[in-house]
Every structure is written in C-alpha cells, then in structure tokens.
C-alpha cells in the first residue's frame, strides 16, 4: 500500500508543479523553470545535447539512473502526461461498470518502429514524429490549448462580474487566440487519449511513447522489479485487474517489466503476498550479452543524437524567401536551430505575457507541425521580456539575458509608403514610432510639417510593435520580415546620434523635436 500512496503523492506533486509552470506561476524564476524542465527526459536530452546545460544533463542522467534501479518510475511519478492518463483511469476505477483491465500484448514491433522513426526523423531535422508522440509536449499542448483557455474563460467571467461592482481583485488574464487547426487537433487528441486511457489504461505509453520505449529497455534490467512470488500466488487475478499497463499474466505468473510503468497498484491489490516489488542482483540468470547490446544501442543512439543536433544549420533553411512570415522567438537563433529542437510543448505559448507567441500548424512546414511562431496581428514582443527563453525545456529557445535580447534581430521592419496614412490621408500618425522600442521606426519630415516613418534597419530588432499598431487598412504600411538567421542589431543610441550629426535626425530637420521657446519658463 505504501508504495502506491507514495506514487500518488509524488505524481500529483509533479503534476501540479507542471500545471503551475504552464500557468506562469514561476515566471521570472528562471531557476525553477530550468529544474522543472530538466525532469522531462526528451526535452532535457535535446537541451543537453545542444550545449551542455548542466541541469538538463543531470536530469537525463537521474531519470536513466532511476530507471535502471527502480524500473519505469518516471512514467508513473514524474511524467505529467502519464499522470493525466492516470487521472482518467481513476474515473474508470471509480465509475466504470467493468473496472478490471486485461492483459495486453507487449507490442514490441510497433513500439520500436515508432521510436526508430522518431529518432531517425529527429536526427534528419524532421521533428513532427517526435512532436506528436513526445509525452511532455502532448501534456503541454493540452494544458496550453485546452485547460488554460478554459481556466482563463472562467477567470475572466468572474472578473467581469466583479467589475460591475467596481471590484478589481480578480484580474482578467490575457489569452492567446488559438490557431484553429492546432486547437482542434489538440482537442481531438485529448478526446482520443481520454477514451484510450479509460479503455486500455496506459496503452499509449507502451505503443506510441518514445520515452516509454527507451525507458522500457532500461526497466527490463532494473535492479528493483515487480515480481510474482510463485509460491504465494493463487492466480486470483486481482493484480492484473488493476494493472493499467496490462503487463501481468496471472495464469503464467509472469510480469513483463518492460511495459510495467511501476504504479504499484498490483502490490496494493494483492491480498496475499503473491506479488512484490523487490531487489535482485542483476546478471545471475539473465542474458548479459543481450543487456550489453541494449546498453550499447542506447549509448550509440545517444551519441548519434548529440553529434547530430548541435550542427548550426541545415542546408536550405538559410535561404531567404523574399516575403517571410515566420518569426521565431529571440534566443532561438535561426529557423534551423529552432525547428530542430522544438518539440511543440507550447510552454512558451503559455508563458508569453503578450501572447505574441502562437502555435502554428503548417506554417513551419509539415515536418515541424505545431511548432510556435510570433504573430504580430494583435500583439508584439516586449522589449524587456525574456520569459520564453527562460522556460523553454529543450533549448530551442536558448536562454538570453535582457541585455542580449535587446539587440537580437528576429526580423526587420519594412515600410511601404503607399500604404501609410500619412501618405494616403496627409495627416500625422506616428504610431509605429511611438511604440518602437529602438526608434528604428523613425520619423522624418514629409511635407507641410507632417512626419512620415523611415526604417533604420540596423537598429530594428523585429519585435513587431510597429506592425501591430499600424492603423493602415487593409494592408499594413509597416511590417516585419522574419530573419531565418537572427542577426545582431546596432545599439540604438549610437546610431541615432550618428544620424542626427548627419542631419537626418528629428531635431536636425525641425522634425519632431520641439523648437526652443521664445520665453522659457522661469521659476
């Protein structure tokens, strides 16, 4: 009983931590984000492989060590997607007519095929198989696209009701406008996983999940294992009935430790001492050759991933398409860097305070399905905000400081004079200049005292503020072209000063700086 209670307590702790993570409770706590991210096997591995992040690397090692010692405890204690399924399964135990689970075949061929496809595709820079199967990202998308919007709706309804009484204690929260395709996909997937969990328990973890496949190999040779005690077992089937992995064969009195997710339900359910979780020194009767082979396989594939991932660019990605709508978050370095590491967990989507980071569906290409991008339709990237880079668990968005971020050029603004209201209506506007944090959207004299924008490309960081606020309809007069490889912008002040000296500045041409008064104010 004790082990099961421990499992439930720890798993709920992790689950709530991850939910809080997505609700930005830890925003600004970069360390908490780093530690939580490090517990997730695949994201942490990608981050570690990309450049030796200490916490991420330690996290991977700890998870592997835990599995070699205790079996797949990761799947039942730490993995939030596993816990989510356990919550669904709980309802089956409580309310279903037929509450018992049945023995499931160990679907080795399917599991290893999926894992192989995922790994090979990821090595080739195609992330879609990984992104669709990786458990943390699936949990993340469900949280970001379903749970969080639902919570925001409830919160804002309450806030709206209280505001009628001029009580502002509950703050309305910003919600990203979901990409319809991404949202529909996520809802359908949630429904699927709900029924799969109700009907077949942890089948997902033993067929599709690449983390499950890898950890299963380690669990097979783990020191502690669930073991039937041949002499005490009466083959009553109580343990198998509560086994959501379907890995207990009561007739044969055998447990498949490869598919066992170490939930300890069986131990708690047994009325005798017919099944136990116990230590056995390895190698006594097992096939050591096979184990060595497995170990080698893991080591080699890990090494292959490490060597393959950090390569800066893939051929083809660097090509600038003339009109480039994709903008990736500051810290993501380039399309190639980002596309290769992002598992579409949507944590950045969730954490972004302005909701400028949005999930995409096909925008990055089918091979990078669901990876997010910046969308300046109704928001922009705040000058001093680096939250996405702090929360990213895979290093797809590399951690950057505010100082660094202020000169990271994720795109460059383009000005189309013929769309501008100053040109079209001959009236002052200047909204782009007003919002521009670097004054790359500068104003120069136009005619009759009017001012018109001009882009200073070298100091533009592509934050999209100008594009968002530009009032020109139907076509924006100023918009951002994404940079496939992020550049470094010039320090704005130096550039602006140089410009003023050359007579192009606002003050120099009687532009926006006020003329000296005839009689200044005297105190």
């Amino acid at each position: 009983m004790k082990l099961k209670v421990l499992r439930i307590a720890v798993s709920l702790l992790f689950f709530s931590l991850f939910i809080m993570f997505y609700f930005s409770v830890f925003s600004g706590m970069a360390m908490a984000a780093e530690l939580l991210g490090a517990t997730q096997l695949i994201p942490a591995f990608i981050k570690f492989a990309a450049g030796g992040f200490i916490a991420a690397g330690a996290g991977v090692l700890v998870v592997l060590a835990l599995t070699f010692v205790f079996g797949r405890v990761y799947c039942s204690f730490i993995c939030p997607f596993g816990v989510l399924q356990d919550i669904f399964i709980f309802f089956r135990y409580k309310f279903a007519k037929r509450r018992v689970f049945r023995l499931q075949k160990n679907k080795k061929v399917l599991r290893y095929t999926v894992a192989a496809v995922v790994i090979i595709a990821a090595l080739a820079g195609i992330m879609v198989p990984l992104n669709l199967t990786e458990p943390f990202s699936n949990f993340g998308r469900i949280t970001a696209e379903v749970i969080k919007p639902a919570a925001a709706f409830i919160n804002n309804t309450i806030a709206g009701a209280l505001e009628n009484f001029r009580i502002y204690a509950v703050k309305r929260t910003a919600m990203h406008i979901p990409d319809p395709a991404a949202a529909i996909y996520t809802v359908l997937f949630l429904i699927l996983i709900f029924f799969l969990a109700l009907g077949k328990g942890r089948m997902y973890c033993n067929t599709v999940c690449p983390a499950g496949a890898l950890l299963g190999l380690a669990a097979k040779v783990s020191l502690f294992k669930i073991r039937p005690r041949q002499e005490n077992c009466v083959s009553c089937g109580m343990c198998a009935g509560v086994c959501k992995a379907g890995c207990i064969d009561t007739k044969a009195k055998k447990v498949d430790n490869e598919t066992c997710v170490s939930c300890f339900n069986c131990v708690a359910a047994c009325r005798k001492t017919g099944i136990e979780y116990s230590f056995q020194r390895p190698g006594l009767k097992e096939n050591t050759e096979k184990r060595e082979f497995i170990k080698k396989t893991i080591a080699v594939s890990a090494a292959a991933l490490v060597s393959a991932l950090p390569k800066p660019l893939r051929a083809g990605s660097t090509e600038v398409i003339k009109e480039n709508p994709i903008v990736t978050p500051p810290g993501s370095k380039s399309y190639a860097h980002f596309n290769k590491r992002c598992t579409a967990c949507h944590l950045c989507v969730s954490a972004c305070p302005t909701k400028v980071i949005k999930p995409s569906f096909f925008e990055h290409g089918i091979e990078h399905l669901l990876q997010p991008r910046l969308d300046f339709d109704d928001s922009y990237c705040l000058y001093d905000c680096v939250i996405c880079s702090e929360v990213c668990p895979t290093g797809a968005i590399k951690k950057v400081t505010k100082q660094e971020k202020r000169v990271i050029q994720i795109g460059i603004a383009v000005f189309r004079k013929k769309n501008c209201v100053v040109y079209e209506k001959e009236t002052d506007c200047g909204l782009c200049n007003e919002y521009c944090p670097t004054k790359a959207a500068s104003l120069i004299p136009y005619k009759d005292g009017l001012l018109i924008p001009e882009v200073i490309e070298s100091i533009c960081i592509g934050c999209g503020a100008c594009e968002k606020v530009c009032p020109a309809v139907p076509n924006k007069a100023i918009y951002v072209e994404g940079s496939p490889v992020h550049g470094t912008a010039e320090e704005p002040h130096k550039r602006l000063r140089r410009r003023e000296r050359k007579g192009r500045g606002e003050a120099a041409k009687n532009g926006s700086a006020p003329a000296a008064p005839s009689q200044p104010f005297s105190f």
Binding site: L382, T427, P437, L443, L496, P514
Partner: protein
Amino acid sequence: MNRREFLKKSAKYAVAAAGAFSLSGAESLLGSERGVDLAAVKGGTPGKMFDAGINALGGIKNFVKPNQTVVVKPNIGWDVIPEYAANTNPELVAVIVRRCIQAGAKRVYVFDHTCDNWIRVYKNSGIEHAAKTAGAVVAPGNNESYYHETAVPGGKSLKKTKIHELIFESDVFINVPVLKHHGTTRVTIGMKNLMGNIWDRRSWHVTDLHQRIADFTPVRKPDLTVVDCYRVMTANGPRGVAGGRDVVKMESQVLSRDIVAADSAAARIFGADPMDIAHIKNAAERKMGESDLSKLNIRRITL
C-alpha cells in the same frame, strides 16, 4: 451603476462640458481674482513638490470633499522602470492618493489604458504597488467593456468616442501626466494624457490627431492637472530608447485647475513654445483654457 445610470451621468457631464466650453473664456478672465491659477514648484521630491503646490492652490480640501470618489489618471503607458521616465512618477501618484484619502475621499481609483501589456506595465512602472500601498483601488483599463460611448460636444473632428466608466462615475478627476517628448505631438503633457481615458486611440491617429486631442479636452475636464516634471524624457519619446539616456532630472512640477495652462507652462519647462504644439495651440484658440502665462496668476515655489 447600471447602464441607464451611466448614460444619465454621461449626459449630465456632456451638458456641463458644453457649458464649460462656452463659458471658459469668461472663467479665465476671472482667474486672477480667484487666487492662484497655477503653481510651479522646483526642487525636492515629487511628494514634497505636490504638497507645496497643492497648498498654493488652497489645499487638497478645495478639490476633494469628504465621501467623494476620486479617479487619479497617471500616464502608465510603457513597460519600463520609473527611472526611464516614460510613466508618471510612482511616488507622486502615491502622495496624491494619500492626500485624497486624508481629505475624506471614499474611494480613490487609479487606472490608465496602457500601451504595452497592462499587467507588466502596472507592475514595472511601480505605480500599482505605490498606489495600492497608499490605499487606492487600482483598476484595469485594458478591456473594451469598461468604455462607453459618449458624445463630444463642440468636436470638430471627433463627434463621439468610448470613455472609461471611472472617468464619468468619479466625483473628482485628477489628471497626472508626465512631461516628455513625443514623436508625433512633439511633447505629451496633460491633454495628450487624456488619450488614456478612451478606448479607440488608433482611429485618432488616422484622422487628425492634434485636432482630436483638442476636441476631447472639454468632454470631462480634469478638476486638477498635476504635471510630473521630476524626470523628463527629452528625446525619443514617448517610449524612450536605451534605458533612459535622454532623461534629464528637472525636479519640477506644475499644478493647475486649467489643463491648457498647465500644458503651456510645462511645455516651456520642456523647452518648447506651446504655440508650436498643435493641440495646445488649437485648445488655446478655442478658449478651452489660458495658454498665455502672462495672464495667469502663477505661484513660483522653489523648495
């Protein structure tokens, strides 16, 4: 307050505004007989300057009566720290809130329709914390549901616009702009700060911005305008560039019942002729207030 009450109150203010608009010329003529029109304070902290200035105008009790509700409208536009001077000084906001409560105000609201993400702006400007600590109710301005359509009497370009409910519901309206450079309007002071009371700013930008700022001024004139000139952004406004390098510590403050007078004095402190600022010139020509400082009874105080 329900919608009907709101509309009633709006109508009342609209009539009052129209009245004020037509009488404002006469009012300013009487100005010198009524005592101090404008207080200009230099030296000292924002809080001390406010106390000196408000005393010169007869004390806070001249503006706030017991049991009244007050709305304080600072400039809380940008996600930057107070030292960059893109937002009103938080200490000044706190002192104003405290003085209103000491004068017996039932409730003091503080809000702005921010430019950057409001939650971050309220926090990083330091104003949310300062105002709450002083006892204010910090209200959001980021949702269209707070804004209600109101007619603009006498408006040449602006005929109607959606205005924040707290502006109309509150008995007293204290406008607390920060003086700074502005790319399009050259400077931003009191009248420009009123753009935080409305919902759809974008439409102003595409149709005669300067005219509309002036048009909107008499709709709900502030009972008091306090211009924060403690730190002044002298270029690259209204947001500022590169961590406040254009900020000059002027340690000044301007207080007046007359928003046009306050703006004219502050413009001169900035180093601009108010007649070069299109919206101030427009408002002065339409007699919304007095921009000729020589016609005002100014109390100059150096701390």
